[in-house]
Symmetry: C2
Subunit: 345 residues, 2 copies
């Protein structure tokens, strides 16, 4: 199987789209036309409703998107039944040829992370030594608060599969940790200098640096960017990007531009497009000069588009989702063309 970094590049070029659709099935928002078919209301029946809803969303949007991103929290909250629904959703999404990104933000160390890597990306071993795939997603989001010990076990699978490591998230309280100014150490100053030379960009442009930053300091997410760049070095595909990616939901354009230069070989998963306030105009900042390097995720604005649609009622939720996905893809593509970052012929 090809490196997932290359698969992502190929799907983007084929479909001329950077859109990723988040499959976050909040049951309170799944339309009655679906839930009424599963009236028991126990966890098994909720899981069936989730799968039914997801399948209709996937069918309605798969030709428009490069990836589906099921958010694990919305599945595992229903226990074993929820994991059944997750697995069926993953299998359905994979059949469309898109990349499946599990948003699980998993993290731990040593043999514990081995278990996460085996279960989510790879194969698990039975007592008699046989090996089977389990959840078997293409990529998984990972939280790096514990450092390299979290990442290493996942790298075992990064020749084929991949991860997105949280770097700078877009939520308001990200600043409490990720924006904290840290003293740069070792070759970090050189790293930043080399990557930003001749770009017209400087760390001093970053909003976090207004709290007294100087050339010996940087927000923690810049330190994280160097770590992620290093973690991905051995997993760069033919497309020029690595299967060790980063979650970069920068709130300000300058952050995105700086992080793009600091991690030139890193796929960015950009959350928050749509409901969380990101706009199409922002997307080109996350994209490399080749028009690749980023996928932009939108969840509820696509899958629950029927709620804001006058044209489609809840019975036609999948038509509403298709229209919203088309609009999102086209807006992003227009922004790429206007920014001179259109790389798909």
């Amino acid at each position: 199987m090809a490196n997932v970094a290359d698969r992502l590049a190929n799907v983007i070029k084929d479909k001329k789209s950077l859109l990723c659709v988040g499959l976050d099935p909040r049951v309170s928002q799944i339309p009655k036309c679906v839930t009424k078919n599963y009236p028991r209301g126990d966890f098994d029946s909720i899981a069936d409703a989730i799968v039914d809803f997801n399948q209709q969303i996937i069918e309605a949007t798969a030709d428009l998107v490069v990836a589906f991103k099921p958010q694990m929290a919305f599945y595992e909250q229903y226990g074993p039944a929820g994991l059944h629904a997750f697995k069926k959703t993953v299998d359905c999404a994979k059949q469309t040829g898109t990349v499946v990104i599990e948003d699980g933000k998993r993290n731990d160390i040593g043999s514990t992370t081995d278990a996460y890597a085996d279960g989510h990306l790879g194969v698990v071993v039975t007592p008699d030594g046989k090996k089977f795939p389990s959840l078997d997603v293409d990529m998984l989001t990972v939280n790096p608060y514990l450092g390299t010990d979290t990442i290493k076990p996942f790298q075992r699978y990064c020749r084929e599969k991949g991860i997105f490591v949280l770097c700078r998230t877009s939520n308001p309280s990200a600043v409490e940790v990720q924006d904290r100014l840290v003293d740069l150490e070792g070759d970090e100053i050189d790293f930043v200098r080399e990557r930003l030379t001749d770009t017209g960009l400087s760390l001093l442009d970053l909003p976090a640096m207004k709290k007294g930053g100087n050339s010996g300091k940087a927000p923690l997410y810049v330190v994280m960017a160097k770590l992620i760049d290093g973690w991905g070095r051995d997993f760069v595909g033919e497309c020029g990007y690595s299967s060790v990616g980063a979650v970069v939901g920068a709130t300000y354009p300058k952050e995105a531009k700086v992080l793009r230069r600091l991690m030139p070989r890193t796929w960015f998963l950009v959350p928050g497009y749509g409901a969380q306030g990101g706009t199409a105009k922002d997307v080109p900042n996350f994209v490399g000069d080749d028009g690749l390097g980023a996928v932009a995720n939108s969840s509820r604005d696509i899958i629950f588009a029927y709620e804001k649609s006058e044209k489609y009622g809840s019975d036609n939720f999948s038509d509403a989702a298709r229209e919203a996905a088309t609009a999102a893809r086209d807006k992003i593509n227009k922004a790429l063309q206007e920014a001179g970052k259109w790389g798909f012929g």
Copy 2:
């Protein structure tokens, strides 16, 4: 139901033990006398073997320990079957009157963390508005890289249930992130000064500060300690400790002592006792003057004690586990008495 912080204090006083046993059922280490009863070798049968093994460990050690800590990675790797095994393990452990701490290191923002909080600690809502508990553990470990947005949704349940927020972990690469020196901001300098006055301790004693720290800087984990102290403020029980706890696996005694003073009302979950190199001598550094405030976790040194035991073979794995748990409890208690931190009469 009582605040879990108070339940933890009561169980500790009743049992005169600070020991938590980690239920990390690596199938390759589960003895043949268990796995031979589940010969199919598929995920359902592995899950049954895990439950069988855990139940025997729980029965053999429950009177010696205050908490069981199942590590979610070892369950969810087997998908739905694994979550069945997890749930059965949790139910079995709860029946012994111990506190059940899920080690899941979950993290996200907003309505996604709501789903984690509902599913792991609280109740999930069905499409027709009914509410049911799902995984229903007592406490959950949480990763704080995304800041307050991750913590807030869990606080909804912290009157009864609780969380342990990662602060300083004991793995080697923790230094890459958690030990980074950051500029203190706002009232952080005052916070540190007030908490360390008359303790004979100073931030300058911390190993991380050797990289050029001064009174305006601290390792990131000190900033995190202040955040955790604040997150727990409204959830302090009658015992004087909060149901918002911290994972503190300090590698050096000075780190533990400083963090104990910075977070005087915070329960510490101390991993790494045993196999990861922590010793009984270290435990008193994590404990308050009242002999409370910390539980020390040991996983494989207890549950797989049979592997290192000459006295017990694999058929008597639960006896070996009981002997190892007794020894661990007693060693910790002896260290507490020697350190003048024995608070149980």
